[in-house]
């Protein structure tokens, strides 16, 4: 038996010599030594460096209060934008949808977000205009962001042109030229959670036939 140091991720715990599972889900392994349990929920636990979709709830002097489907509201500092100074603070109305990055996420504290990447550039973060946002589970969001591309997105991309933003907190935003494209993409993604790759492709073909 080789002596190996393994790293335990979320969902696993060490009790003296035994490792026990704390959450229901799939056990995943990543070389060289990381193990964790991946599960899908409807609520989100904020994690640093996650990209999420948030809705503005309120704006205070120093922060915007953002709802990211976590246990508490998150703070977005008013200066956390590219070239942000006290003079050009953006004005977001209640209900604006933003694409954000989680900077700090500690247990018991409100998470902190930012509209820039680690080097301070805007890089696609910020408000999303038009389109339609719907909620999914966290597992489906991860599948949509995985590489190689998820079968449902590939099948849709072959026939339709659209733009999506996926938040790891279980929110997806879709935009396209016509409303019926948006509706087809949204419904295809929502239906694809429990289907296998081949079933997803069949489901997408079925939906596309109905709108033609």
């Amino acid at each position: 038996m080789t002596n190996q140091t393994i790293m335990l991720g979320g969902g696993l715990r060490q009790d003296c010599d035994a490792i026990s599972v704390m959450k229901a889900g799939t056990l995943r392994f990543s070389k060289p030594n990381k193990y964790w349990v991946e599960s899908s929920q409807k609520r989100y636990t904020p994690c640093v460096e996650d990209t999420v979709l948030g809705i503005v709830v309120d704006s205070k002097a120093d922060n915007f209060l953002i709802d990211i489907k976590g246990p508490v509201l998150a703070f977005l500092p008013v200066l956390a934008f590219e070239g942000g100074t006290r003079r050009n603070i953006p004005k977001f109305e209640v209900g604006t949808l933003l694409y954000l990055r989680v900077v700090k996420a500690n247990f018991g504290m409100n998470p902190e977000l930012s509209c820039t990447d680690a080097s301070g550039k805007a890089a696609e973060f910020g408000p999303l205009k038009d389109g339609y946002m719907f909620e999914t589970s966290t597992g489906l969001s991860r599948k949509l962001l995985s590489s190689p591309t998820c079968p449902v997105l590939e099948a849709l991309g072959k026939k339709l042109s659209f733009e999506i933003a996926v938040g790891l907190n279980g929110r997806v935003w879709v935009n396209a030229a016509t409303p019926d494209t948006i509706v087809v993409v949204a419904n295809a993604i929502m239906n694809s959670e429990s289907l296998s790759g081949a079933q997803q492709i069949i489901m997408v073909e079925h939906l596309l036939k109905n709108i033609q």
Binding site: V57, P71, V72, L73, G95, Y132, P179, I182, V183, N187
Partner: protein, 304 residues
Amino acid sequence: MEGRLANAWRLTANDKSFIRTALLSEIRIDGRKPYEYRKIVVKFGREDGSSEVQLGQTRVMGIVTAQLVQPYRDRPKEGILSIFTEVSPMADPSFEPGHPGELAVELGRIIDRGLRESKAVDTESLCVLAGKFVWAIRIDLHILDNGGNLVDAANIAALAALLTFRRPECSLGGEDGQEVIVHPPEIREPLPLIVHHLPIAITFGFFSNDSILVIDPTHNEEAVMGGRMTTTVNANGDICAIQKAGGEGVPQRVIMQCLQLATAKAAGITKQIKEALYDILWYHLLRETTLETGELKCTTQKEL
């Protein structure tokens, strides 16, 4: 306070304008046409008088129970019908536990009016001893999941529960004929309620741009729509009740259009409820035949 803020369901500004824009091209976000209903599934529980209805994502459970009580003074020969609605935060984070909000009360009132005013349930047959004992039918509606349009789903649940409910048979006895004897279900088969017709509630949502009309709004559409109207009609075309509480004004021709649409939909939904009942009636038929051929040899004369 902040905890509740974090849990609240919110609609983005993008969604609000998208729902309106899509409706201009007659597209709804779940792919339905404006006058299309979501899929209705009617299920029954093991006990008589319990039903669960799913209308898309909305789920409501209906339970019917009966009790012998004294009738109202001004109606000594009629039974009593009452409806209670329970909403729990499990259905929607905006519902508060315990205290029923405006929505729950309005829901109960619409269904109550639809059943009572149209005399759908025959209350005179519920009289056992005039002035002394009548059956009080109690319908409990539990909202399990709010996916929009609770009124319609709750109405179907109430009707399905009423149609499968069986009340015990009772007869008068005793020395002066003033004693009521309630027969247990093993001795005498319980009786169904007399339901003359099925009043179906159909809810419409109005959107301010170009007076767009949708049937069976979902949760998102309800948050965006300008006004709503619930019409309760039956398959014969009789209007049992109409409810339009506030919201934006609509011209008269739109109301007439709604009533015509509602009558067409009511026929379809009535057929669906009756088909769902078919399986349950088979179960009752089997139960009756076993009762007749079973051990009923010793008919206790003192009870009958």
